[in-house]
Amino acid sequence: MATDRLDGTFAALADPTRRAILARLMAGAATVTELAEPFDMSLPAVSKHLKVLERAGLITRGREAQWRPCRLEADPLREVAAWLEGYRRFWEERERRYERLDEYLREAQRKERPGDRQAT
């Protein structure tokens, strides 16, 4: 996995406005005007954010001169998810093993209590 691309993706994601824009684009393509609506922000300011997202490959823009709708691109997010996934698996697998140890320890202590000992 290209680390510099991951760097670019995380840098682009490190801003709440840009994340909100991506969240909005999850629901489908949108124009700059539509994207600017929920923010107290000028169109040029929103355009700046869109450029960052576009450079990072997180969005693409249509060719239509007037409309130029923005669309979400999955690839960089997929790389971020893949990067996180390894850590999640390591963490979860460890925890699942330790939960089995919890269970063993509980059972072993139960058996040690004289009241629970089976009369044989």
């Binding site: 999955a74 998810a81 893949a82 330790y98």
Partner: protein, 158 residues
């Protein structure tokens, strides 16, 4: 949620895991050094653990095999460097699927009013080995989660 913490500072060769267990440390120590105990808990719910060898003494060898339902087997082995009941175990660890990548693991058990705090420090031979371990299972797991992300994105985009 348990209190497990995983620390892997960037650029280092270590992974440090801490977690507490609701049992006295004599029992926790036994869980790591008694073959029957290891057979019962080591591994995952989907696997069966075979304790091929567990010589709990300095210089002793260990080898555990995890067997999946479909017959796949994963072997792990190493040598005990040091055991001090009930507070410390030091051993080497090698996954047989990746021979040559050996790590040194030190497990320390501290008594906390009848509970046990475990600190498990693994030192790898390289930063790359350490990072590889942190990203373990990535290929199979990532594929699955990518499918889900694709589904989600496909739906989201209409």
């Amino acid at each position: 949620m348990s209190d497990m913490k995983v620390v892997a500072d960037p650029g280092t060769q270590e992974i440090v895991i801490t977690r507490s267990f609701d049992a006295p440390r004599e029992l926790v120590f036994k869980a790591f050094t008694d073959p029957e105990a290891v057979r019962q808990w080591w591994g995952l719910n989907s696997t069966e653990t075979v304790v091929d060898r567990l010589e709990a003494r300095p210089g002793g060898q260990w080898r555990f095999v995890e067997r999946e339902g479909d017959g796949n087997e994963y072997g792990f082995h190493g040598v005990y460097h040091d055991l001090e009941a009930p507070e410390r175990i030091v051993y080497t660890f090698e996954f047989e699927g990746m021979p040559g990548h050996v790590l040194l693991e030190t497990i320390v058990f501290e008594d906390q009013d009848g509970r046990t705090l475990m600190t498990d420090t693994s030192v790898f031979q390289s930063v790359g080995d350490r990072d590889g371990m942190l990203q373990s299972g990535m290929e199979s797991g990532a594929a699955e989660s990518m499918d889900r992300l694709d589904d989600y994105l496909a739906k989201a985009r209409g």
